[in-house]
Symmetry: D2
Subunit: 127 residues, 4 copies
């Protein structure tokens, strides 16, 4: 994590069983006017959650890269409280992994955003 996402402040809470949960402490420079968390911050948390979940399945493959990501913003997250990303993988194929991430503002039960993302998995060397 530290090697791949050196800027990320995400903490891995749970990983395994085709999923992962990460949390992110929101900094003051990550807020938009009105005090909500900016969209790119939510996307970044989802991206990390997907990445962690996939590595939990296939092992450390540093060349896995995001190929697409669709985010729907559902509710404005308050600026205080951590952002929690809960990822469930729907497919881990030989060359492509697909997962969804529900993003929560800590303490609230309804998701603030929902992400579906795909990762390209590099071919493994045989040997």
């Amino acid at each position: 994590m530290a090697a791949e996402f050196p800027q990320s402040k995400c903490v891995v809470e749970v990983v395994g069983n085709c999923g992962a949960t990460v949390s992110h402490h929101v900094g003051p420079d990550e807020l938009r006017p009105g005090g909500t968390v900016s969209g790119p911050v939510l996307m970044a948390v989802a991206d990390v959650a997907l990445y962690v979940a996939i590595l939990g399945e296939i092992g450390i493959v540093p060349l896995a890269v995001t190929t697409s990501l669709t985010i729907n913003f559902l509710r404005k997250p308050p600026g205080h409280g951590r952002i929690i990303g809960v990822c469930k993988l729907m497919k881990v194929g030989r060359s492509l992994a697909v997962g969804e991430v529900a993003l929560y503002s800590e303490g609230f039960s309804e998701a603030v955003a929902h992400v579906v993302g795909t990762y390209s998995i590099p071919p493994r060397r045989e040997g």
Copy 2:
């Protein structure tokens, strides 16, 4: 821009005619290992390009919010050079605007990523 996106370092190059072009100088904390620009940075540039293009059509409406965004990553952008976002709006309706953004690494002709985003436009007060 400064009021709505205080953290953004994007510069508005062109706006009008149902579109906008913005540029973003990539900082060292926006790179991923290998020296490419991180995905959330690309998404943030696209979000700003969409926002600027929409405001160019409907005037300053600070409550316009992104409702969804789909990004496809096409090529790894080199870490040097600015990111250029070229937005074309496809629809500016009463309550929803839809646009696409091609993201380029300065000096290259092929897009590094492509975004489609939707913005919700708040109802205007009459009178």
Copy 3:
């Protein structure tokens, strides 16, 4: 259903509690070479599941229209067996509803496709 989707052969199995389950008997003209169900058929089932789930929440509002839909194809569905669409709504706002649909081939536990869709809800007349 019959009025809005006259061509649809979907059967509503469950509706309520912010969700819906529909089933669709696959006809011979809905297969692709190799015997799998064509993509547009899957999309159509997801669209109906979303529509039914939304009407279950807001009542019969025939002018609700799909504004966007993202589908990820996960596994090839066999041509026999019904397609089951299980929709969960993530947001039912005043003007926009967002939901996801997992599509299954009957008898298999892993989804063949996953959809996220948004519906625009027309403003209600007051009075």
Copy 4:
């Protein structure tokens, strides 16, 4: 085309130069109440346009499959007149192709829908 999409009534108008244009004559069973073309019909036309454009680049590779598709509905297409799909490929990589499709109702200059789709390209046998 006839082999891969036996149900499709799409006609290939142009193919080549990283793009394709297809047209589709709308049948009476493809309309929704109010006389507009149903969403799945638009998706099907976009899917064919992408497929044709990709084959135009890589040759006849019957195993290329759609992996994801995002559609934004922009305007209600009138029920008469053909649907025209204009595809431009943004990337044709070794294992993944990405393209966009603007869908028009014949005789109108503004798109009725916009699609971004990805296709998985099977590895080519060497030798």
